[in-house]
């Protein structure tokens, strides 16, 4: 309504764009190549930051994560494949840098564990159901027993006992 609003709107726009400039400064080698930039982010998201262990190096702002992100971008610029870059990190920091551990002898139990537990649950369930059915599988009543049961239900039980 009043003229100053326009200038404050412009200021708001400038302020909201400023953080983008700060991000761009961090991403020098890939800044002009959106494909390489998204590759760098994808690879960084797969790698665990060793300093703050529950963050990927894409999320973390630890000094080491910054350096490793820089490495990822440089190697992309140098034409390395995603696989080569991940292998480079694993060679230095071990499988621990991978959020998704590779399947091998030492991690077999880790990968197969949930399926094994599920299987064990099913086996236990089947055994329990079988045991219950066996309990219910009493032999059916004979003719004499049927008659006695009918008498009992009819309330004639007293006569028999007397």
């Amino acid at each position: 309504m009043t003229p100053p609003r326009l200038s404050s709107l412009a200021l708001a726009i400038v302020l909201s764009i400023l953080p983008l400039a700060a991000v761009a400064a961090d991403a020098l080698p890939t800044e002009r190549d959106p494909v390489a930039a998204s590759r760098a982010v994808k690879i960084s998201e797969k790698l665990r930051c060793l300093v703050c262990q529950n963050q990927s190096i894409a999320e973390s702002n630890a000094e080491l994560a910054l350096d490793l992100r820089q490495q990822v971008r440089e190697q992309i610029a140098a034409g390395k494949s995603d696989r080569e870059i991940v292998d480079y990190m694993v060679a230095r920091y071990g499988d621990f840098v991978l959020y998704e551990p590779p399947v091998k002898a030492t991690t077999l139990l880790l990968w197969a564990g949930p399926a094994l537990l599920l299987l064990a649950g099913f086996v236990a369930l089947i055994l329990m159901l079988r045991a219950r059915r066996r309990q219910n599988d009493e032999p059916p009543l004979s003719v004499a027993e049927h008659e006695r049961a009918a008498q009992l239900l009819a309330g004639d039980a007293g006569k028999e006992n007397s």
């Binding site: 060793l50 300093v51 262990q53 000094e63 080491l64 490793l68 230095r92 621990f96």
Partner: protein
């Protein structure tokens, strides 16, 4: 029937056992894949004489320690007296890798706290650190005569680790 009731108790005890062991393990200690592998090569400028370089090739044929330190590193102060003591015994050369540090600050720190290093080299941008899988300063590596990494201490050296692991290993490697 009674035995069946003991099964959940048994499972629970095993679980508690696992958790108890986990409680006393340090999740920050990540086993290095470099142990038993050739030490990554480097040639870096020396801290005290920047015009001169020193590298892994100069150390072939002897057992040596690589200690990663920095003037900004707080827990380096913790292990430093032990290193100074070790340097006095002249048992093994200790090479210092001044990691991501301002050389002037590094020199000042050594002047103040004592310099246990046979030589210090400067890893200004931390690239050599990445090659060696360094993620928490201080770290200490034991390298044998063939240039193979035999041991890695993550975090400050303790008197116990020095007496029980590092020194016996160094002596054994020096004999071979």
């Amino acid at each position: 029937m009674k035995n069946k009731l003991l099964i959940p108790l048994g499972v629970f005890i095993v679980l508690v056992g696992f958790l108890l062991v986990g409680l006393f393990r340090d999740p920050r200690e990540v086993p290095s894949p470099l142990i038993g592998k050739p030490a990554p090569q480097f040639t870096l400028a020396q801290l005290h004489e920047p015009a001169k370089t020193m590298g892994t090739a100069d150390l072939k044929g002897q057992v040596w320690l690589l200690n990663v330190w920095a003037s900004w590193c707080v827990s380096c102060r913790e292990e430093h007296p032990l290193l100074v003591e070790l340097a006095k015994s002249k048992l093994v050369p200790i090479i210092g890798l001044d990691y991501k540090d301002e050389p002037r600050a590094g020199k000042g720190w050594l002047a103040q706290n004592g310099d246990p290093y046979t030589l210090s080299v400067v890893d200004r941008d931390g690239r050599v650190g990445i090659d060696w899988g360094v993620y928490g300063v201080p770290e200490t590596f034991v390298i044998d005569k063939q240039g193979t990494i035999r041991y890695k201490q993550i975090g400050p050296i303790t008197a116990e680790a020095l007496e029980k692991k590092i020194l016996p290993l160094v002596r054994e490697l020096q004999k071979s």
